[in-house]
């Protein structure tokens, strides 16, 4: 049983990327004759490529890009292994090779068991088809036979809670129902090896919990092997037996999830001077929205990696938008150095009339974290830009680190405590006051071992027993 169920040996994958030499900052305009000449040259090259059946690449200069380089690891039967790493580290390429979507350039993989891969929830769902039809369609796509699907049909429907809508086209489903149905089908796969990518980043919190729970029980009860890629660092830490950290197509480290996550966050904190700026070529995003910079500073001063808690902290995001984009959510996750998220905030959390209009071109928005909120410690900013309920555009982990020094204490005792005696992710000074019933208890007109919570809305008092006698 301790045999490896997955063996990956020296796996490499090369992509060819084309660059156009004409593009770039130096050329202000392009002459038609240059374009024509270049096109003619390209056309001749492409024609040869087509003829020989080679991969055709746009652009003048072809550059090799190794998405994976000599990756080797083993996974034992029944293990849950998490793969983490920055965007572009090669995680998705690895999963694509393992699920046979793309071929490796070099190396090999041995899989000793039936594999199911779940790179997306609801792959191949057709909006015009009914829920019932989509169960059969999606099941077949995920590799179930029609007999298996028929056998599990009722279970799938019950788990997804869509009985009443079985014969409704899924285009009329709410997004929650859609995701529940899609996940339910996937959850009823019975592979020995399950490969999962980012699916947990979709859907609402309840769905995430449900899917995490399902994955956990499935792995434990049926001795199933799970390999999953996630940005959800606390989930990786709580669920996985082991984690693998990838960077630039190579394994940086692997081992206990806690230490691997620490290492990842430490590595991600490459920028701690309070500012992270991208060039246009490397900026995360898509053709419509690109994130150009993230910075933190306190009270209008210069960006800085060390801030005091007695001043407001500003997190500023610079991004370029093209055209009008509806329901664009711009925000970030604030996490601590263990990967625990304190808060996820978007500009669209505000009342709609206060939403910032997305301007075509450069936008610079800032979010104020009020003074006296954060505890001492290291914090990480992970920008999140997406179109509401549609897709993520930017999902970068821990691009910026800053340290907070506890300065907002107003009590001499607070100041006397060492940092270690100030636990907690946040340290707001909360209000304390005496209960209005305190004097009545002291005078004996109220029984001391029962507490009056106070008059509720209809004026009556509610008694709550707080004694140990119950």
């Amino acid at each position: 049983m301790s045999d490896p169920i997955i063996t990956v040996e020296n796996l490499s994958k090369r992509y060819l990327v084309g660059h156009s030499s004409g593009e770039g900052g130096s050329d202000r305009y392009t002459a038609l004759r240059d374009v024509l000449a270049r096109e003619a040259r390209n056309f001749a090259r492409k024609a040869v490529d087509v003829f020989r059946g080679r991969q055709v690449v746009e652009g003048d200069e072809i550059e090799e890009f190794w998405a994976l380089k000599n990756v080797s690891f083993e996974v034992k039967r029944g293990e849950i292994v998490g793969i983490i790493g920055r965007n572009g580290a090669g995680k998705s390429t690895l999963l694509k090779i393992l699920s046979r979507i793309t071929e490796p350039t070099d190396g090999r993989v041995l899989l000793r068991g039936r594999v199911a891969s779940l790179l997306e929830v609801g792959t191949g769902f057709h909006p015009e088809l009914t829920g019932r039809e989509n169960i059969f369609l999606n099941g077949a796509i995920l590799g179930m036979t029609q007999r298996e699907i028929r056998k599990k049909f009722d279970e799938i429907v019950a788990f997804a809670e869509v009985e009443r809508f079985l014969d409704t086209p899924v285009k009329r489903y709410s997004s929650g129902m859609y995701v529940r149905l899609a996940f339910s089908i996937a959850a009823h796969l019975e592979p020995e090896i399950l490969i999962v990518d980012e699916v947990l980043a979709v859907g609402d919190v309840n769905f995430q919990k449900k899917s995490l729970g399902k994955m956990h029980t499935v792995a434990a009860e049926e001795n199933r092997t799970v390999l999953f890629v996630s940005h959800n660092l606390p989930a990786v830490q709580s669920m996985c037996d082991r984690a693998i950290l990838l960077d630039s197509g190579a394994i940086v480290t692997q081992g206990a999830p806690r230490s691997v996550v620490k290492r990842y966050l430490a590595q991600a904190q490459s920028s701690s001077n309070g500012e992270r700026v991208w060039s246009r070529d490397t900026a995360p995003g898509n053709e419509n929205v690109t994130l150009m910079a993230v910075r933190v500073f306190s009270s209008e001063s210069e960006p800085s990696g060390t801030l005091d808690s007695d001043q407001d902290v500003y997190v500023e995001l610079d991004f370029i938008a093209k055209g009008e984009i509806h329901n664009l959510c711009v925000g970030f996750d604030l996490t601590n150095s263990e990967g625990v998220t304190l808060v996820r905030t978007y500009q669209t959390d505000l009342a709609p009339e206060r939403w910032l209009p997305v301007q075509s071109g450069w936008n610079r928005w800032r979010c104020k974290i009020p003074k006296g909120l954060l505890n001492h410690g290291d914090f990480l900013v992970s920008p999140r830009i997406g179109i509401f309920n549609v897709a993520w555009i930017v999902y970068e982990d821990a691009v910026l680190q800053f340290r907070v020094n506890l300065r907002h204490g107003v009590s001499p005792l607070w100041h006397a405590l060492s940092e270690a005696n100030h636990p907690g992710l946040i340290a707001p000074i909360l209000d304390w006051s005496e209960s209005q019933f305190a004097s009545q208890i002291r005078s004996g007109s109220l029984v001391a071992n029962s507490m009056t919570v106070g008059p509720n809305y209809d004026g009556r008092s509610k008694k709550v027993n707080c004694g140990r006698s119950s």
Partner: protein, 274 residues
């Protein structure tokens, strides 16, 4: 060990055909999906399959039969002859154009799940085949209208249907592969189909082509298919030209091999290109 799977470069090639067989169920499901999406809630779906060929037959009968006074095959009504040619042509052109867009249209599938990619374009040809069957019923009605009785030759028709299928899937696969690489290629396909309609003997009988050119004309694979259809449907009224048919079959065979070959060469990189 229950099942051991090895992934390494070039490995996929070796199990290609057995893999294809293992995924036959997916083929069935995808074909069924395309069909039910097409005919769902649209009565127009069925009508649409009928309207285009019927109108074309009408126009061709008027232009070539009445105005240009071209001869028909034997004593068969001109409209019937045109319809017998229109049938395989519609099948071919629908199959070709739908297959060539199929892989791009199911891009989300291709980048997320593994299965032999050959399934996708082949499954779409099934839809074209159902359109073909609808049209065939129309032809039967037309034959009743003209009180035209087919003879034993109609039993050979399935062989020519298979030939029409091969004729559309061969170039279809090649174009599918090209379409993935060159997205602007899809603008060329309607042109090819349009052009093909006029260089194929759809609106006229291939007997109007001068004798010395007929062999050359048969290099167009649809010439053999259409002639074959007419021979089967119109009974003794249409003659088969064996040398031309042999050439057409040869060309179809070559394109079938070539299409599959090119498709297999390029399908490995589909997921990287889409």
């Amino acid at each position: 060990m229950p099942d051991l799977m090895i992934i390494e470069p070039g490995r996929r090639e070796r199990h290609y055909w057995s893999d294809l067989w293992r995924y036959r169920e997916l083929f069935r499901v995808l074909a069924w999906r395309d069909l039910s999406v097409r005919y769902k809630q649209t009565v127009i779906g069925v009508l649409w399959a009928l309207i285009r060929p019927v109108l074309t037959v009408l126009v061709f009968t008027i232009i070539f039969g009445r105005i240009a006074q071209l001869p028909t095959d034997g004593t068969a009504p001109y409209a019937l002859m045109v319809f017998a040619g229109m049938l395989p042509w519609t099948f071919f052109s629908n199959g070709l154009s739908e297959a060539s867009n199929s892989v791009i249209n199911s891009g989300s599938l291709i980048t997320k799940v593994y299965f032999p990619r050959l399934i996708v374009p082949t499954a779409t040809v099934v839809v074209a085949f159902v359109d073909f069957l609808i049209n065939f019923c129309m032809l039967l009605l037309l034959m009743v209208w003209y009180q035209f009785m087919p003879d034993w030759r109609i039993l050979v028709l399935p062989a020519f249907i298979l030939l029409a299928f091969c004729a559309s899937i061969g170039p279809g696969l090649w174009m599918t592969a090209l379409n993935v690489k060159y997205r602007d290629f899809r603008y060329i396909i309607p042109f090819i189909v349009q052009f093909g309609l006029y260089v194929s003997p759809v609106g006229f009988s291939s007997s109007v082509v001068p004798e010395q050119w007929r062999l050359l004309y048969s290099l167009n694979p649809m010439v053999g298919v259409i002639d074959g259809f007419r021979w089967c449907i119109l009974g003794g009224q249409s003659e088969l030209y064996p040398a031309g048919l042999a050439i057409s079959v040869g060309v179809i065979g070559f394109f079938l091999w070539f299409g599959i070959h090119r498709f297999r060469k390029m399908e490995k990189s589909f997921a990287d290109l889409i």
